[in-house]
Amino acid sequence: MRRIIYAFTALALLSGLPMQAQTADEILGSYFENIGGKDNLKAVKGIRMTARLNQQGMEIPLEIYQFSDGRQMTVIKIQGKELKQGVFDGETLWSTNFMTMKAEKSDGETTANVKLNSNDFPDSFLDYKEKGYTVELIGKETVEGTETFKIKLVKEPLTIDGQPVEDVSYYYFDAENFVPIAVESELHMGPMKGQTQFSTMSDYQEVDGLYFPFSMTQGIKNGPSQPIVFDSIELNPTLDAAAFAFPEEVGETTND
């Protein structure tokens, strides 16, 4: 981390000029360089994160898995029980129903929309052109009291209630160190439809040469938000493929 900041100070001193106008690609280039390099990032095939969610005084431990083939899963640990949420095996998206504690599939559209994100691991911006994404520098904006570059990312269109909807998100890259400190996007379905989802990222720390935010908040823009704190991040974990498979009947998942 210190290395990065030094590099920047030196750069700024050398040029002796205010930061030159940046292009989106230059900002992304600096970003990848600062978090450990594109090649190192590309080498990551999977990630396991242990985290804590604080919901109105209740602490909920989580375990999150993501893999480069799009498989992902969040395991919520409540009262010694493990409940899988947002499990995606590449084809089927499912979660455990909190009432019956049984697995239920997500609706087809949501599944299809999640499947579109299979190519986003480990970073949506990585080789974004090859993915057919577009990236645009909107300008500078102050977020979290800090000057940032606002970058618009457009991914594959989503399908919402049968209609195609553009998948747009805005990333705010800290103008000093080029890491994203906030992301916002519009919610397209559910009762909060039309509201803007807003997340912040901080506490970037190194894991095997790559930097990850260890603290995030998620919420509605200008509304309440919830913090998520990551206790550990492990790269390239191993996990039995069976863990992702939709069980016809999930009575209880054991913690073995």
Partner: protein
Amino acid sequence: MKRQVRLLLLAVAIPVAALAQQRDTLRAGNLFGDLKARHIGPALMSGRINDLEIHPANKRILYVGAAGGGVWKSSDAGTTFAPIFDDHCQSIGAVTLDPSDPNNTLYVGTGETWTRNSVSIGCGLFRTRDGGGTWEHLGFDKSERIANVLVNPQNPDEIYVGVLGALWSDSEERGVYKSVDGGANWERMLYVNPKTGVADMAMDPTDPNTLYASMWEFRRTAWSFESGGGNSALYKSTDGGETWNKIHNGFPEGILGRLAIAIAPTNPRVLYTVIEAESDARKGLYRSDDAGASWQQLNNDFEITVRPFYFSRIVVDPRDENVLVKGGLSGSISRDGGKTFKSLGNMHPDIHDLVFGINDSDVIYAATDGGLYRSWDGGNTFEICEDLPLSQFYQVSVDEAEPYNVYGGLQDNGSWWGPNSSPGGVTGRDWNSVGAGDGFRVLKHRTRPVIFSEVQGAESVWRTDTERRLIKTIQPQPTAATPRLRFNWNAPMALSPNRPDRFYMGSQYLHRSEDMGDTWEVISPDLTTNDPAKQNQEASGGLSADNSGAENHTTIFTIAESPLDENLIWVGTDDGNVQLTRDGGKTWTNTVANIAGLPANTWAYHIEASAHDRGTAYVVFDGHSRGDMTPYAFRTTDFGASWTSIITDEVQGFARSLQEDYENENLLFLGTEFGLYITLDGGLSWAPFRSNMPPVAVHYLELHKGTNDLVMGTHGRGVIILDDVSPLRELTAETMGETLHFFGSSPTVMNDKGSFGGSTVSPEFVGPNRSTEAQIKYFLKSRHTFGKMTMEIQDMEGNKVADLEPGKAKGINIVNWGYTRKQPKVAKGKTFSFGGFTSPRVPAGTYRAVITKGKDTFEHTFELVYEDNGIPLEAREAKYRTTMELYDMTQQLAYMVYQVDAYLEQAEKANDTRELKKLTALKETLVVTTGDNYVGLAEPQLREKMANLYSKVSDGYDAPSAADFDNLSLIRDQFARAKADFEALKPKVKGGDTLTLVPFEEFLEMY
């Protein structure tokens, strides 16, 4: 000589440097951070809407352009809305989708076009290409109000803008403008003179080169309105705006006023115009069946001709050239091509725009003075869309209740009061009506259950006894000595901060009552200029007489009795006087001549008598009704003998309101037409406040003493509250220079109040409540992005009580803590133990917040105190003791079940069926092992019983009941027996002695 010069330079340099340093106190409003505005609506009585835009292909999507409340998008046909234009001025003239890209590209022409006295101003033309995510400014900075934006459906780079222009003054930026390069460059295609602008435009959908534009000559002053003149006309162009011809064949003779123009989408040869003319007989609706070559008058009903400046809009059914709707007092619809009309169904009066559904003409949306309405049956019946908090307050005040109430009057929506917080959030049903018509000032008596309210021009001033529900009309009336009273439309009333029963009203005189309005005494001469040239309201309106009282002038507008001296009263008048009496009204001095740099006769909008010093006062002047958009605010410290401007060029928009902080005299709040501004240095520099605060017109500011909440009456976004501004008192160059500065905090009262929350499931607007949690507030010099930053709460012995995630933003951070510990660790069972989700409260006392940022730690101690509600301390202590006993017991049971499970596993492994059976039987008494979390619930076992009692006691507010203690003793015994049974079983399990189990403390940390 040289030395002298150098000294002189030094002398000059020092104050400049000092000034520069002071001016750096707070920059650009980016550091307010978590100090975020809270919007409580209401949406019950929404606000005026200027323009509606419907998506051409998706019937769910609708845009609302509000008169003072920005642009809102609905993706569900009007059920819910989200604001999409909150970074720019909030007065909207036109909202237009690009027909080539209706999903993404939207134009917003700002500045309302319904030119009533209270109309706001715009700030030019804007476009988004991503559905409102980002906006680009396309110029027209001086347009003040934009009536239309038309985009060629065949060529999105070809855009026409109809600029109505300035209302209060001449302006050159008027007429029809055209861009052929997507808005990069603009050419003015039609212009008449500096007094005449575009009131309406239409484009032939089959031939985008055919355009119609109505030009309107109009002018408003503070005391009159003039609609019509020789330059008003309807024009047509068939060459994309290059040449324009008047199309008046069949028009009324004489000069014209405001004209609306509409084209039938199904037959572009059919046009409708509504004409304001000299002769009443020749006013009304005209139709052309030959694309404007000739016109025939069809109708001059009241609804068609009423107040053209306010209602001049016609909309033709997209499926039937003979069905059309017209804005009006009630709005009306014709189904015979305009020959006859019937009124639209019941809704809030004053209809400004209407749209038909894209697939179904039974669906009609109506934009009114009271929000958006929707009809499903062709306009017979309407329902209000409840999610638009667009209310337009003229003034707000507060009381000392807990939670405090907010009072205020609204444009055409009466007078109201309601709580700033309410169980489940602030909804429509929390608001109470205390006045009809246009509401303005509403004041709560300090000690009695009495509210003062009024209707326009003090036609009635009401004193409402809210307990006995008695309403008395109490306005000052003419006397032999003062036979004619002139009240402003927004007539001033004021309460004395020194004597609760003293009540003031201002006409041209100051009226004082010592008995809440039962008897009145005139305590001043005419304090205005009494200029007869500004008193001829009967002649107001131009071609359509419009003497509503809204233009009454040469009146008192603001009254302020000093909180430090009951005989010191300031009075400001709408014609620019600032009068002071220091002897309770015996003698008066007009001090306005002492103000340098203020144009004569500028409206004295608000006077704030300082709470710090008798001789200090602030006056805010508003010159916009003379076309002067400069903000003016001055301070005197010598009873008006001299005045200093406290405005800098950081302030945007003319100002109307000011609030002085009660503690830090350098902390001032200023409400302008473009939002809230804050100074920390007595006006040397100002920063816009934009944390969840759109640049909406702030008409009034009030600081609530008990909570330090800044309550804003906005004219378009309802009541907006900035909770607890006290951190701002501590912001200095020094505190802002610290890596991390904790703000002082007064003790947090631990809220005992319970509720079942809101019961609304309707999609109505719900205002969030004020936080009742403990708030740890600090200033961070720079954002924390790299490395660990954590926060924990400790008791004074250093024991950790809770982990909290600290805010990382540069500027002010606020971390909420609900004064609870982590929930207990609960035994693992088949299902959840819902009682176990309860986080117990900590006892009142002193706590410490510790932030660790890298190698540094920062500490702040703060107090929690119990609510003063008569609950004895012993009861609270008993509750805490019992709660924690059950908390500990719950965790011990969890540990026991963990061990039982381990022994079960071992017994199974060792094939010890006898003990396996016994252990299983034991476990079945400890936790549920079957069922689910809903209707498959199993019979509760020890875990469930224990956790339920824990939760019940923990959620209570006083000592556990005798029944609780009986139950506790039962649970305690059962647990003791279970423990004994387990201890007896343990040694019998084969290989049980080989088990390695984690100790209790470690178990608690396991997930």
